[in-house]
């Protein structure tokens, strides 16, 4: 009897989750009257504005990932190695983007950087910087979890005593053991940047977020097709993280324990 109820709730949850998805999918296939077709997808993918917006956002995502990796990984590593008492402070700081709405952030940025000598609003660098702030909680958390799973200090010291300098320690010992954590942070950052609307629109960049917003207001079938595509992209990324994480160099519970 208990089993029945558990399954019922799972089924209800699944219906709640999958029904809209199914409806969207079905709707996205109905552009041609009277038959199911991929016409909406074709329209979206062949629209030059879409391609431009997607490429732009993807570029921004790549820069954001590079900058935030360079910023977050060494910082988190150093905090773990030498300043563990600062961990709570770091946690608080990296949580701030959750508390401060993106719209507040972007108004602050515009106010601060829209007139000389700090005229940055025409440069995509400002957009990347804003995205780094948005992505920071995800990036920091991923890296932090990865660092917690290995004994950073002892591994560093073991490598040092064997003659290794900092580049060797970082690239041969620390990074390989953070592989799945870094990939996780990277995918999450990509997902955030690729669909971001508020900041891109406020700074007037032709990114994918604003493109989708306009499309949603003016078209019927294409937005549904876009929604399905972004869903597949996101879930594909998550699946990829899982797969890569299971492989060599990923985090494994039996590897973390040390003694067994």
């Amino acid at each position: 009897m208990k089993r029945f109820w558990s399954w019922l709730w799972i089924a209800l949850g699944a219906v709640y989750f999958f029904l809209p998805l199914y409806a969207t999918l079905r709707f996205s296939l109905m552009m041609k009257k009277g038959e199911l077709s991929l016409l909406a997808y074709e329209k979206v993918l062949t629209d030059p504005a879409f391609v431009k917006a997607f490429v732009f956002s993807a570029e921004m995502a790549v820069f954001t990932i590079l900058v935030s990796l360079l910023l977050v990984v060494p910082t988190a590593y150093w905090v773990h190695l030498r300043l563990p008492q600062l961990k709570p402070v770091m946690e608080f700081i990296t949580m701030l983007p959750f508390v401060i709405p993106a719209i507040v952030l972007v108004f602050g940025l515009i106010r601060a950087y829209s007139k000389p000598p700090l005229l940055l609003t025409p440069s995509p660098a400002l957009l990347v910087m804003a995205y780094c702030v948005l992505a920071m909680p995800y990036m920091y958390r991923s890296v932090d979890v990865g660092l917690r799973a290995i004994d950073v200090r002892t591994l560093t010291e073991a490598a040092q005593s064997l003659g290794a300098g900092w580049p060797t320690i970082l690239f041969k010992v620390i990074f390989p053991n953070l592989r799945s954590a870094l990939l996780g942070g990277t995918f999450l950052t990509f997902a955030i940047v690729i669909g971001e609307l508020t900041i891109a629109a406020s700074l007037a960049w032709p990114a994918l977020g604003p493109y989708m917003a306009v499309l949603g207001q003016n078209r019927a079938y294409e937005p549904a097709a876009l929604a399905i595509m972004s869903f597949v992209l996101t879930w594909g990324s998550i699946l990829l993280i899982e797969l890569v994480g299971r492989g060599r160099g990923g985090l494994r519970s039996d590897q973390l324990a040390g003694t067994h």
Binding site: I150, D151, T154, L155, E157, A158, A159, Q160, S161, L162, G163, A164, G165, T168, K172, V173, P176, N177, R248, G249, R252, D254, Q255, G258, T259, H260
Partner: protein, 352 residues
């Protein structure tokens, strides 16, 4: 002049002194243990030798060179950690070869050396396993091989066996000693396990509260402790509060029974001194001439395996001693009155 010299090393963290005036010379090929309770500064001292900490004052000299401020990766010191610290992303062979690869040795030479090391630790067939695929004891052997592979000037081990279970611990410690002697590596071994320190070392440094208490061969440390701390920390002691009768002769009294401690006591008649006896020194027969004797009543008998511990009482004072177990041992009965014997030289004076 020793191979490793620690000259008046002091280490302070903010206003807390972790190591104070540590002074030691270690000969080439010697095996020295740092023994002491938790927090006494053993690890800190070891980390200064390895270069992970810098002394607040004092000098560290290895083979005639002052290395006090040299970076840890320039010291060529092999280090073994309690948590093994194998690189999880590398196989056993890659772990062992890591130091050689860092030193840019030719691939063929690395391969040869790794093979030699695997043979030394009897793990040839595990070369391609990852650390998480081998047991704790095996991981620690690999860590040892990794440290030795670079032909270090010094080998440092920080409680390498603490995370292992009792049987492996004894096995591995014998293996460590055998390898150390075979290769003649100068070794510093940190432990809070006195049995480990006494059984492995050429010399033991007993530490307490940031200071060295005594340095000596295990035999000296155990039989001739120079401070009350060493006496009570190394081995087990039975303690009596005795009244001084004649300090010059060393005559003492407890519950009306007189006995002799070491002569020339620094005390006045009537003072109460804490006198300690090793439980194994007491016997039920007078095995030598001129022994102290005491009449006691048996209280409880505890079976501890290789020894039987007998708790006895004088009038109000209590003490205990050990009898070596064997199948024909005649155990005293509880409540029985006994005469026990111990040599006059066996009394350790712990102070007032």
């Amino acid at each position: 002049m020793g191979f490793l010299e620690l000259n008046h090393i002091t280490k302070r963290f903010a206003n807390f002194t972790a190591v104070e005036n540590f002074n030691l010379e270690v000969e080439k090929g010697e095996f020295v243990s740092f023994l002491g309770p938790s927090g006494c500064g053993k690890t800190t001292t070891l980390r200064m030798i390895a270069g992970f900490e810098t002394p607040t004052s004092g000098k560290i000299i290895i083979n005639g060179e002052d290395v006090t401020y040299r970076a840890p990766n320039q010291r060529k010191i092999g280090m073994v950690f309690q948590s093994y610290a194998l690189f999880p992303n590398m196989t056993v062979a890659d772990n062992i070869g890591f130091g050689l690869k860092v030193a840019r040795k030719p691939t063929a030479e690395i391969k040869e050396r790794v093979k030699e090391m695997l043979l030394l630790i009897h793990m040839e067939e595990f070369a391609d396993r990852y650390p998480y695929q081998i047991s704790g004891g095996q991981q620690q052997r690999v860590a040892l091989a990794r440290a030795i592979a670079i032909r270090p000037t010094l080998l440092l081990l920080d409680e390498p066996l603490s995370a292992l279970d009792a049987k492996i611990r004894v096995e591995l410690r014998n293996e460590i000693r055998a390898i150390q002697q075979k290769l003649g590596i100068t070794t510093i071994y940190v432990t809070h396990d006195q049995e480990e320190a006494l059984s492995l070392s050429d010399r033991v440094v007993v530490m307490n509260k940031a200071r060295m208490e005594q340095v000596g061969a295990p035999f000296e440390i155990y039989n001739f402790p120079q401070t009350p701390f060493v006496a009570s920390f190394v081995g087990t002691l039975s303690i009596l509060n005795a009244e001084v009768v004649n300090p010059a002769q060393g005559l003492l009294k407890v519950d009306g029974q007189e006995f002799y401690g070491p002569g020339g006591l620094e005390a006045r008649p009537g003072d109460i001194l804490r006198i300690a006896l090793r439980p194994e020194i007491v016997s039920l027969k007078e095995t030598a001439a001129d022994m102290n004797r005491m009449n006691v009543q048996v209280q409880t008998i505890t079976f501890l395996g290789s020894v039987v511990r007998v708790q006895v009482k004088l009038e109000t004072s209590r003490m205990f001693f050990d009898l070596f177990n064997n199948p024909s041992l005649q155990l005293p009965r509880e409540g029985e009155n006994l005469t026990i014997y111990f040599p006059k030289s066996a009394c350790l004076v712990l102070g007032k």
